[in-house]
């Protein structure tokens, strides 16, 4: 796939564009913070405003080291998990087993949409079962390890992540199974050209 402007633009904020400090998304975030802060100051008063600043500052200090550790882990995962390993085990329409493998592969898939969706398209084109496709995307979206490590763990902590993981472990497979029964016809994309 040719590199497009979409590739350069940040997708989930990380991992798919050129790393940069400033950028359109920063201005949006900053505007949101300023507007929310202005509302808070005028509606709740200065004392609340400064308390929030202090609380969020303290939270940032707690999150900081966790984020660093998580990003190192994420970088290692991205380097160590070979793309073809993922492709080898998904991509065959072997029914339930394919669904389970696809779900597991999705969970292990690192990166943002620009990593996962090309894989899905390629699998689709080479004949992967609809159940496997849905299981893969759901596994990636719901339980993607790299994204969970980088984003969820620093903010919400180990206990919550474990709870959500345990509660959701079987769900990508369930989604794949349901997808096999849904009466929507899919035609694989034409490859090449």
């Amino acid at each position: 796939m040719a590199a497009t402007e979409d590739d350069k633009r940040e997708s989930e904020g990380l991992g798919n564009g050129e790393p940069r400090f400033f950028g359109p998304s920063l201005y949006v975030f900053a505007a949101a913070a300023i507007i929310a802060g202005a509302f808070c100051y005028s509606l709740k008063g200065a004392e609340v405003f400064y308390r929030v600043l202090a609380e969020e500052g303290a939270l940032l200090l707690v999150i900081f080291p966790r984020v660093i550790a998580a990003l190192l882990m994420a970088g290692l995962i991205q380097v160590l998990v070979p793309q073809d390993l993922v492709s080898k085990w998904v991509g065959r329409d072997s029914g339930v087993r394919g669904i389970v493998i696809a779900a597991a592969a999705g969970v292990l898939t690192p990166g943002g949409p620009l990593t996962a969706f090309p894989v899905v398209v390629a699998l689709f084109a080479s004949g992967a079962h609809r159940g496997a496709l849905v299981a893969y995307l759901t596994g990636w979206a719901l339980l993607g390890i790299q994204r969970t490590l980088v984003w969820e763990l620093p903010f919400l902590g180990t206990d919550f992540v474990l709870l959500r993981f345990a509660a959701s472990a079987v769900l990508p497979i369930l989604a794949g199974l349901i997808a096999m029964r849904v009466p929507i016809t899919l035609t694989p994309p034409r490859t090449g050209g």
Binding site: F29, A32, L137, L163, A167, L174
Partner: protein
């Protein structure tokens, strides 16, 4: 739950220690460079997102959250939280501070699980930007139909798990 963290770290160490997986110098350098690039983008946005969420948390009336998706709101709260997650068309960097803010104002854990799961699955921003052009509307319809019940189920299961493990 320190045990869980300990087990996790031990697994990570074992994984990285396996000869097939052990990163060499080049790979470590690459990984560090990737991590540093992430960090440069992430830090300022995270600061802003945290500030925004903190301010928003002050503006949301606490009893509103408590009534609709608080710890006592039960199945109804899980349903509402599942629906609410659809309406956050933004990335993880926005949803996570919102989740933290919700915790601050008293959201229940099963409800929060449903909320985060719903956002993760529906991810409107991602659907429009990537999934629609790459996979087409029919695939989206298929995936959404198959995934509808998931956030609710996640919330319910989380509720059970919490009830099973005391304290």
């Amino acid at each position: 739950m320190q045990i869980a963290s300990g087990i996790g770290m031990w697994i990570a160490v074992q994984l990285l220690g396996t000869p097939a997986w052990r990163p060499d110098g080049d790979e470590i350098r690459r990984a560090l460079k990737i991590a540093a690039g992430h960090f440069r983008t992430l830090l300022p946005r995270m600061v802003m997102a945290l500030l925004m969420a903190g301010f928003v948390a002050e503006l949301i009336p606490e009893d509103l959250i408590g009534t609709w998706i608080g710890g006592e709101s039960g199945i109804q709260g899980i349903l509402i939280a599942s629906g609410a997650g659809i309406f956050v068309p933004a990335g993880a960097l926005v949803i996570m501070p919102i989740a933290v803010a919700l915790l601050k104002v008293g959201v229940g854990l099963p409800q929060l699980v449903a909320f985060v799961s719903s956002w993760a699955i529906f991810a409107v921003h991602r659907m429009v930007t990537y999934e629609a052009p790459m996979m087409g509307g029919r695939f989206i319809a298929l995936r959404l139909l198959a995934s509808c019940p998931l956030p609710f189920l996640a919330g319910i299961t989380a509720g059970f798990l919490i009830a099973l493990v005391p304290g």
